[in-house]
């Protein structure tokens, strides 16, 4: 097992190296550079040349890449051109927001998706199953920003129940320790902030969690249906076991494998930045950092952010593989 994990981690090195090279060349190949993005209509050719010179963008690409990689090895992604802040610091400040949002979304998706899929499978071809399948189809196909607008309209504008921007009410002050609002409010023992933080998570959590929910529900349904028809379930039933213990011990555990794969992949995706949701709900996470970086052609932010997220994505996938082994002894043996 340890060997397997180490091998996978070592594989990260060529992946990251290749990705960094690709990114480096790609962001510079895009038309318009940081100077144009910063100066707008005031970007005269002379000014652009001067900015490029002061940031070293006029040097040969290979030389720039070498300087860049020397710093990246030391985990220094440089300083953002638009924000004038350290990219590494910025990533560590923003990533907790993304984790918090992804966790809320996954909690919503798993908490509803699995029971929904399970019930639909057990009531196959009933009106419940039909409704669940249709709803999940709708869930997968609804654009996030559209759903977000509907949620905002209903819950914030019409009924004034939930907030629409940020992670806490703007006028509330909470001392930061971990950059996780929920954890910080527990550390500070501030129930008001905790409740406020949860309220701010609800709408973006639902908006972001709807697609994973639909996918999880569909996969759960399909997977459970498949297992329900397997021989060992029939045997268990023939042995006279209780339905509940069949479900828990035989069906769910075996049906879980594809569900975990989906959950893992979805979590990886959510962690790699929910650009739209973060923009619409003014959520100060990785998605908005990267979106802004791309708009402003902020090379260090794009490069650092994407590399960081690539590492996260690979690690989450590794975690999923390890979980497989825990759940399924057959994988462990092989």
């Amino acid at each position: 097992m340890a060997k397997f994990i180490i091998r996978r981690l070592l594989l990260l090195i060529p992946i990251l190296f290749g990705l960094s090279l690709l990114l480096f060349v790609w962001v510079r190949a895009l038309p318009g550079g940081p100077a144009t993005a910063l100066l707008g209509e005031k970007a005269t050719p002379a000014r652009i040349a001067e900015v490029n010179k002061s940031y070293g963008f006029d040097r040969p690409l290979a030389a720039q890449y070498l300087t860049y990689m020397k710093k990246v090895v030391k985990l220094d992604f440089g300083q953002s051109i638009a924000l004038r802040r350290d990219v590494t610091d910025e990533i560590f400040r923003r990533f907790p927001a993304t984790i918090e949002l992804a966790a809320a979304a996954m909690l919503f998706a798993i908490g509803i998706g699995i029971p929904l899929g399970l019930m639909a499978a057990k009531r196959e071809r009933t009106w419940f199953d039909f409704t669940a399948v249709t709803a999940s189809l709708l869930g997968v196909s609804i654009p996030v920003f559209f759903l977000a607008q509907i949620l905002k309209y209903v819950f914030a504008l019409k009924f004034s129940l939930l907030p629409t921007i940020g992670r806490l009410t703007t006028t509330r002050h909470l001392t930061e320790h971990t950059h996780f609002v929920i954890i910080d409010s527990i550390i500070e023992w501030d129930s008001g902030a905790l409740w406020d933080g949860i309220k701010h998570l609800i709408l973006p959590g639902i908006a972001l969690g709807t697609i994973p929910l639909a996918i999880i529900a569909r996969i759960t349904r399909a997977s459970v249906l498949e297992v329900l028809n397997d021989d060992y379930v029939r045997t268990a039933r023939a042995k006279g076991l209780l339905t509940r213990s069949i479900n828990r011990g035989h069906v769910l555990r075996n049906a879980l494998l594809p569900i975990i794969t989906v959950i893992g992949l979805q979590t990886g995706l959510l962690l790699s930045g929910a650009v739209l949701t973060e923009q619409v709900f003014t959520w100060n996470g990785m998605g908005s950092l990267l979106a802004d970086g791309v708009i402003k052609k902020d090379y260090p932010v794009i490069q650092g952010g994407v590399l960081f997220l690539a590492v996260i994505f690979v690690l989450v996938n590794l975690l999923v593989d390890v979980l497989y082994a825990v759940i399924d002894p057959r994988i462990r043996v092989s």
Binding site: P31, L39, G78, Q79, R94, I165, F281
Partner: protein
Amino acid sequence: MRHRNKFIALSMAAALMVTACGSDSKNSSDSAASTTAATTAPVETSGSTVTTDTESSAVTTESTGDTTPTTAGEAGPAGGTFVFGASADPVVLDGAYVSDGESLRAIHEIFETLVTTAPGGTDIVPLLADSWKSSADGLAWTFSLHPDVKFQDDTDFNAAAVCFNFDRWYNFAGVAQSASVSYYWGTVFGGFSDGATPSLYKSCEAVDDTTVTINLTAPSAAFLAGLAVPAFSIASPDALTKYDADKVGGTEDAPTFDGTFGTEHPVGTGAFTFDSWAPGDKLTLKRNDNYWGTKALIDELIFKPIADGPARRTALETGEIQGYDLVDPADTQALQDNGFQLLLRPAFNVGYLGFNQSKPPLDNLKIRQAIAYALNRDALVKAKYPEGSEVAQEFMPPSLFGWSKDVTQYPYDPEKAKALIKESGVTDLNLEFYYPSEVSRPYMPDPTANFEAFKADLEAVGFTITPKTAPWRGGYLDDVNSGNAQIYFLGWTGDYGDPDNFVGTFFRTKQDVWGFDNPEIFDALTKARDTQDIAERTKLYEAANVLIMDFLPGVPYVHTQPALAFAPGVTGYVPSPVSIESFAGVSLG
């Protein structure tokens, strides 16, 4: 109430005139226009209508410019927290290092400049300097500073502090000289102490505690208007030194800004003090209870960055913020219908169709005139622009001095356009029309709509249009500015209240984007810039504008008034054409 306030304003103005009478009458810009100058926040101005009298805000130093800008009503009760929805975070809270509106907005609350603009206008009025005069040759400007002013760290504001700041800017080196960092120094003063490019700045002299002289290498009348930009805010020398404001680290090809002055310890003399800043989340300022002027009404001012336009609107509607800038023109009606207040910023921009004369047939004046007559600018502005927009007749807004009513007009006249084409003898009527995508500018909310309208107009008189488009930041600006475009959309929002920042920027020197070499226009604009006497300058710019519109380097078509939205009950906000706006007089109502 309105009359009473006017009376207060006038008596304040009279008082200021008395205190400011030390200034040289020839150059005195501190006229009676300074109704609500320095020590008074814009509380005294009144009016709650949406329209703004832009005419009255002209920078005529002789005028008594009774600016009656749009405000969100009368002075309201004190206290509370005001949350303003900004479109982005400030870059850094150090005026010398920024040029973007969001940074300057916050900086203007913490810091102050020597002079500022009258609320709602572009007249230059006192702020940290009570009065000023320039020497006869225009090379030495002496400012009398307001006495007994303290920085927020309790150090003294005095002539030495002013010189410290000017010398700091002048001595910037390396990446700090780049236009992406010290844009305004470069724009107003040119070069730095290393002498690589000539600088307008020569030296600063602290004559005594409250008198400072700034020496220039050449006369420049635009200098004073430039100083009103919050980029020239006077910061506490102690704090600048202590918190390494100028510490630039990293390597030569990957420079980094390492000081904490602009991120954690900005110290100025303004009505608000810095409290905390969590980038991306919020910037919190507190009322400066030791402020030397009229103290702010609200206790706390928070700038909340909300990048998404519709999200800003929803946040205002749900009460999560109390105001925001850059209202989408499509939202104005709905917001007003729902009881929100809309304030218009007096027009200080221009949208134009530019011609590159190095690309025939645009070198032919008759063709340029034909295009001008062919465009139905009125129809476009009426159909596609928000309330308050007007058709432009020249390359600068009418509120600025030097705007001429005598320029040649080019009303919509397709027949005349056709006739001019015939007269020109040009047979190849193909035009490559550049317009940007993925952008919305104050003077161009929807470039594609503008393109479609003008394309139809031009085709109607016989031109053949080839559309060329690229994302604004993804190639468009590079292409156009380096002279690759034949006819193109571009525009400009003024940095400060001087015509040199409009027509001077465009036409004072030869530029690839215009592709013409017309010494007559270059000389006229250079002379106008270097003239000291304001009446004389006004005449010179008026004449230059006539020259320009006869030569027709492009067709200016619109000036717009960007809108701000506020919650019902908010009072005391005065939109400024140059976006120099104070929250000191704002009340939550």
